[in-house]
Symmetry: D3
Subunit: 68 residues, 6 copies
């Protein structure tokens, strides 16, 4: 019955990678907590780098700094 | 004062349908819990079928299987 | 497949009322969007009145004002 | 360590405004609660006006009424 | 930078199990997406079985049925 | 109309501090984006340190290390 929400920045995750995230999250909840995979829901949200902040700066700014 | 977040897959819900979801959710909270509709907030999020998983598979995969 | 999160203040909603919220939300999504009730998940969160604010004041303060 | 999720309607917030939201939220949590800014995460979500309801009507409808 | 929110019913998950969920989620995001574990945040929420519904019934009801 | 969800670890935030978080968040959204404070909702969630992870460890573990 678990519900898992994964938020990541929108930086090119592929359909294949998202499929794996869903598979592995579902398996992990079965392995660790014995949760029924049939009712495990995983929702991935991809967020624009302008809309994500850490340490008071946006990811857009951080990526620029990192490239320098 | 309630806050309701409805997440559905992005599969063509119309503006009219979303309007009805908002109306009925607001009324339901007034009917069952006596909540003031003036401050009831409803937010609908539509999620790409690649980003939604149940039972360890994405909705994209599930829809393909269903069509077969 | 929908996932619905209902946040309300913790002010005495009964198990019976929460049961009705879950039933009606699930039915509403079937009626309006044709969603399969078998995989509709509803999670209710009850939040302390000190932790909920509207219009810049907590619900604790608002309830006090209303009683006067 | 805080995580802050700010949901607003998609009505033209600029990258500059979102940067300020992230800066000020991070600083506020440091000022009021002494939280370490290095691990404060802020995620802004912009929601279509058709998908946001208050008082049982969508923001799309409300904006139309306000213009009249 | 990912943020992961895992919601489960409050049915006795131990501190040890929650520790493993956090470790494995963090590792999974590094393995699949190359995300930096230093800024990966995982928040687990345990929800009362009266407050969680699937298929229109609460988990409290479902558990009772299952025991019969 | 904004909705803001602030998640922090449950480590003794006072009612007074939470009141200030609500006031300042509401004012910030008015200052930066011109949002109407009357319909700004802020919900604070306090999460057990066993249930919050960063960098693959729980806050409970991190606090122990910091004390050494």
């Amino acid at each position: 019955m678990p519900y898992v929400n994964i938020k990541i920045t929108k930086e090119g995750a592929t359909a294949e990678q998202k499929k794996r995230l869903i598979q592995e999250t579902t398996r992990m909840l079965q392995d660790i907590l014995g949760k029924n995979p049939q009712t495990t829901v995983v929702v991935i949200e991809e967020v624009d780098t302008d809309n994500w902040g850490i340490a008071g700066e946006t990811i857009t700014e951080r990526r620029k700094r990192e490239k320098k």
